[in-house]
């Protein structure tokens, strides 16, 4: 059967795994708002969580730095204390919580690093690079571009043709989720190419014959031809 006069492209993306690193301004703003919120918070009702007269209450009490008490005839250079429920009402309350397992070493959570080995090696073929941004699959078939496939006469829909073509190209050990059967864009040329959007969930893309890369929008801009980039820029 002869192929149809159009091609099915696929925009395969790996969604961010970690949140974006906020800019210095945004960080400072969040810090300011957080401090304001802490200042305006009600007093921590410790008696609800630590029952009076129990060991846990004593543990909690021993960790708290009590406020400055108010005495008559004393001069307070930083203003007269206003203490209620063992809290200085003029400032934010600092609550030190006892750790779950005694010394506080056992329950410490050490988070994983936001940069991975793939970032250090600058391995553009790894899906573990740049965890905080969306990566898109581009292949080098004569020139760098999104993967695209012929649509045979038997094919009933574009998205099935694109998904099948992807597996033919890069092996079947790839778990993807097609966003929609509607094409997200058309790349005009000799043979128009309809782009189907899809997300990779597990597995990897392992083609035999040619080079491929998982790149961010900025990296794609450097790699592909300018006229090609302008036709797909809106999608990225």
């Amino acid at each position: 059967m002869p192929p149809r006069p159009l091609r099915a492209g696929i925009l395969l993306s790996r969604n961010p795994i970690v949140t974006k690193e906020p800019s210095a301004f945004v960080k400072a703003f969040y810090h300011y708002q957080d401090e304001l919120e802490r200042r305006l918070m009600w007093t921590f009702p410790w008696y609800f969580y630590f029952k009076r007269g129990t060991l846990s209450q004593r543990k909690f009490d021993s960790l708290q730095k009590g406020p400055m008490p108010r005495h008559k005839g004393v001069y307070y250079p930083e203003g007269i204390p206003d203490v209620k429920h063992n809290r200085e009402r003029r400032s934010k309350q600092v609550v030190n919580l006892p750790s779950q397992s005694g010394d506080g070493e056992g329950d410490k959570i050490i988070p994983q690093s936001r940069t991975t080995q793939a970032d250090e090696k600058k391995d553009v073929r790894s899906l573990e690079r740049k965890l905080d941004s969306t990566l898109y699959l581009v292949i080098n078939n004569k020139e760098w571009r999104l993967p695209s496939f012929e649509v045979s006469e038997e094919a009933t829909s574009l998205h099935e043709a694109a998904e099948a073509g992807l597996r033919e190209l890069g092996g079947s050990n790839i778990n993807t989720w097609t966003v929609s059967s509607t094409p997200a864009a058309v790349i005009k040329g000799e043979v128009p190419e309809f782009v189907i959007k899809s997300h990779i969930l597990h597995g990897q893309f392992t083609p035999k014959d040619f080079d491929f890369a998982w790149l961010t929008k900025e990296e794609i801009k450097e790699k592909v031809k300018p006229e090609y980039f302008s036709s797909v820029e809106a999608l990225l």
Partner: protein
Amino acid sequence: MMNWKQGLRAFQAVVRPHISAAQPTLVRAKRTTKLAPGASRVINMVSVISARKKQPRRLKMCKEDQVRHQMIMAAWKLHLRDEKAERTNKLKAQYEKITEACDELQKLDPALYEAATAREKGKRFSPEMRIPTDTPPRQPWQFDWSPPDK
């Protein structure tokens, strides 16, 4: 001597005057007897969400701080405006791309167009898609995946 029921009623008079307004058991003096465990538990619980004795001093900024605050919020508003504009422009561009693609497909291949623009019934996002977290999991990506046997 006050039993726990009386104590609870006294507490209710303070906390929920609409319930026991008719019962003249409001105790104004300092309580000398101990409350029963049940009543004290309820009082403990309700006092978590009551503002009594727990509110901090009202925030009173000096004139300079108010100006600073206004400046920060104005800058934040500008940031949000830029962010929103970028978002909207991107969505608009994508929308126009979809329209263009559908128009083109309709001209080229009506059968594929019908399949592509039919309403997708029961469409669900994949449950394996995750909301990004602040730090990555131990294994950021599962490389060795194979399709389940049918």
